[in-house]
C-alpha cells in the first residue's frame, strides 16, 4: 500500500510538470488565437485521432493485464502487457512520421522557415514539439518499464500474491494516456 501511495505522489509531480507546459500553452493561445488555429490546421488530424485511439486502447490492455494478474491469469496478463507495448510502439511510429513530415517542411524550432512565420505560429509549433516531445519521452519510458514488467511476470517476481510493481506501472501508463487526452484537442482540434 505504501508503494502505491508513493506512486500516486510521483504522478502528482508529473501532473504539475505537464501542467506548467499547459500553462504556457494557454497563455500563448489566448494571445494568438488565429495563429494557433492556423497551426492546428497543418497538423494531421487522422494520425492524431489514430494515436488517441491507440493510447486509449493501450490503457484498456494495461488495466486488463492487472485484473488478470489479480485473478491469477498470468498468461493473459503477459499477453495484455505485450499488447500495451505494441500499441505504445505504434504510437511512437506515428509520432515519428508526424515529426519527420514537419521537419522536412522546415518546421522545427530554430529553422529559417520558422523564423519567418508569424509569432503565434512560431510559438504553436515550439509548444507542439516540446509538449509532444516530452510526452513521447514518457511513452518511451513507459514502454521500457512495461517490458521489464513482462520479464518480471515471466520470472515470477510479479505474481498473484505480489503485483504492486505491475499496478504502479499501470498507474504511470494511465498518466501518459491522461496527458494525451488533453494534448489531442488542444493541438489537433482547435480548428
Amino acid at each position: 500500500m505504501g508503494a502505491k501511495f508513493g506512486m500516486w505522489l510521483f504522478l502528482f509531480t508529473e501532473v504539475l510538470l505537464f501542467g506548467g507546459m499547459f500553462l504556457l500553452y494557454s497563455v500563448f493561445r489566448s494571445r494568438f488565437p488565429l495563429d494557433f488555429h492556423k497551426g492546428a490546421e497543418e497538423l494531421n488530424l487522422t494520425l492524431g485521432t489514430v494515436n488517441t485511439v491507440v493510447l486509449l486502447t493501450s490503457s484498456l490492455s494495461m488495466a486488463v493485464a492487472i485484473t488478470a494478474m489479480q485473478k491469477g491469469a498470468a498468461r493473459l496478463s503477459l499477453c495484455m502487457q505485450g499488447t500495451t507495448v505494441v500499441l505504445a510502439g505504434a504510437f511512437l511510429v506515428n509520432k515519428y512520421f508526424e515529426w519527420t513530415a514537419k521537419i522536412s517542411h522546415g518546421i522545427y524550432p530554430g529553422s529559417e522557415h520558422m523564423a519567418n512565420l508569424p509569432h503565434g505560429e512560431i510559438l504553436f509549433y515550439s509548444l507542439y514539439y516540446v509538449m509532444t516531445g516530452l510526452h513521447g519521452l514518457h511513452v518511451i519510458i513507459g514502454l521500457i518499464v512495461i517490458v521489464f514488467m513482462m520479464r518480471f511476470t515471466l520470472n515470477g517476481a510479479v505474481n498473484q500474491g505480489d503485483y504492486i510493481k505491475l499496478e504502479n506501472s499501470g498507474l504511470y501508463w494511465h498518466l501518459v494516456d491522461l496527458v494525451w487526452i488533453y494534448l489531442f484537442p488542444l493541438f489537433y482540434l482547435i480548428t
Binding site: F5, L56, D162, L178, P185, I190, T191
Partner: protein, 93 residues
C-alpha cells in the same frame, strides 16, 4: 506486501473503453461544428470527462481509500489556482 485489492472486472473496463472511444468521436464532431469560443470549452469539458473515466476506473481511484481522492483533488486544485492567478496578469495587462 500487497493488500488484497479490489478486482475490477474485464467487462467494466471494456465498457469504459467504449465510452472513451465514443467521447473521442464526439469531441472530433463538435470541433467540426466551428462553435467559436465555445469549442474550446466543449473540448476541455469532454477531455475532462474522458480523464475522469480513466482516473476513476482504469486507475482504480473509485476503489481507493478517501485519502487518495482528496490528494488527487488537491493536486488538480493547485494547478487550477496557479493557472487562474497567472491569468489575473495575462488577461488584464
Amino acid at each position: 506486501m500487497t493488500s488484497k485489492g479490489h478486482i475490477v472486472g474485464y467487462g467494466l473496463f471494456i465498457s469504459v473503453w467504449a465510452c472513451l472511444l465514443v467521447l473521442t468521436g464526439i469531441t472530433i464532431w463538435v470541433a467540426g461544428l466551428h462553435l467559436g469560443n465555445f469549442s474550446t470549452f466543449a473540448a476541455m469539458l469532454i477531455a475532462t470527462l474522458k480523464a475522469s473515466l480513466v482516473l476513476w476506473f482504469f486507475m482504480h481511484l473509485k476503489y481507493e481509500p478517501p485519502v487518495f481522492k482528496v490528494m488527487a483533488l488537491a493536486t488538480i486544485a493547485t494547478l487550477t489556482v496557479i493557472v487562474l492567478m497567472t491569468f489575473t496578469d495575462i488577461w488584464f495587462r
